[in-house]
Amino acid sequence: MRKRSAILLLLPAFVGVLIFTFYPLIQIIIPTLNQSSDYGKLYLEFLKSSYNQTVIFRTLAIALFTTLVVLVLGLPLAIWIARQDEKVRKLLSVIILFPMLTNAVIRNFAWIIILGKNGVFNDLLLKLHLISAPITILYTNAAIVIGSAYLFLPIMVTSLVGSITELNIETEEAAAVLGAGAMTNLFKVIIPQLTTGILTGCILVFAGTMTAYTTPQLLGGNRHLVMATLIYQQAMTLGDWTNASVVAIILIILSVVIMFAINKLMKKLDRRKVNA
């Protein structure tokens, strides 16, 4: 009786996810394996191409750099926000939340204004006579990193502020009494206690950047494809849906493996909880 009603309640969601998430995945995997007698042929061919290797490497490198930039900017900011009075903290959190809830196109567009040939940044450098002619930043890998970092910084900060406010500030006071300065405290007391929060944030940023479409599309241009934009190009521009599927599968595998690895690392590093 009870069991039947539980099943009825779960069924719609279960069927929905099954038919529209897992079935489609299987459906795109099958053609990539069935093209020839050799199952892995398409994947090997794809991975052999140096162009594709560059795309995969670029995807990972951009995700890595973005994660680092977000961490370096986000951690101190999160500490600063977390250490404010409750009122100020709430206000700052809302300010951080606003870009997070604003459309990614708009946020990327803002960086087009800044990084373009005649953009704000070049203007500024020219006026300061640091450069004599506009430099190219837009449509480079750097632009993608900047745009992605801007996109994901609020997520990292929000997730870190939560864990930092839960820290017991007396541990830092204890360290200070024992002679630790601000920097020692940051690296020896705060960060070690935040491993879980930091790595959770890193998973979000890394996986998010790696799979994002809009930012590389807008800020990278056609010559700086990443895997997400490659999928679209293969499918929509070149009409090669099987090859697009190959990229999609590799992208899923890479992102899931990386998330899983960071998760494992996180569990290993976090010794604060007794392992049950």
Binding site: G16, V17, Y23, R83, N103, R107, Y150, T211
Partner: protein, 262 residues
Amino acid sequence: MLDRKNKPLLIFGLVVMFIILVPLVLVVITSFGNQPTISLPIKGFTFEWYKNILQQPDFVDGFKMSLFVALIASFSALLIGIPAVYALTRYNLQHAEWFQSFFLSPTLIPEIVVGFALYQTAVISFKLPLLISLLVGHFLLCLPYVIRLVSASMLILDPHIEEAAWVSGCTKGQAFFLVVLPNIKASVIAAFMMCFINSFNNIPISLFLNGPALNMLPTAILNYLQNNYDPTVSAISVVLMIFTAVMMWVVEKFLGVNKLVK
């Protein structure tokens, strides 16, 4: 000590906050310039570009369509997600955690792949209308928010209050609507807002699932931006920012914006 009084931390904090806000401020400023392309500093002052938004059928129709899709997707995610959460949190199921991960699994698939794969299954294999496929895609985007936010508050809620309602003469259904729902209201609203905002802003899923008659606002802006560089984009951006701000204000009014991220 790294507290509020730490000078370097204060300076660093202010600089990063500045970096976070300035780009959006620049967008706002450029929307009022009266040159035909976006440039800073602006010359003159005009509302022309705001009027121009209404001349762009892609923007107007896209707005309506995005609104429609986001609303339907969010509501269906609540309608289908809340019963699942209820079953997961109240029935002592053996594999509850497994189901939870299963329902959250769409988040593991890159959005662009969700759209790409769904196009092949829903549109090509199942021959579903494009609009339905698009709604399904957005539903998959929304479901995990409902599962996560609502189950968090269901776990906090004392299960005995439902039993108290049954003993008082409520059927299971009455107890859910009279006792459970009012007490998880905040998380339901929060989940709805997160669904709505994320669906409304989504590009990757819509990318494969839109068509000539099915135009979403974010993809319309994206297309426009790839072909034009005039302040109309700034203007529509400002409109959307106001839209976001209003939604945040509404949420703050009802339950505090901080609920959205918890």
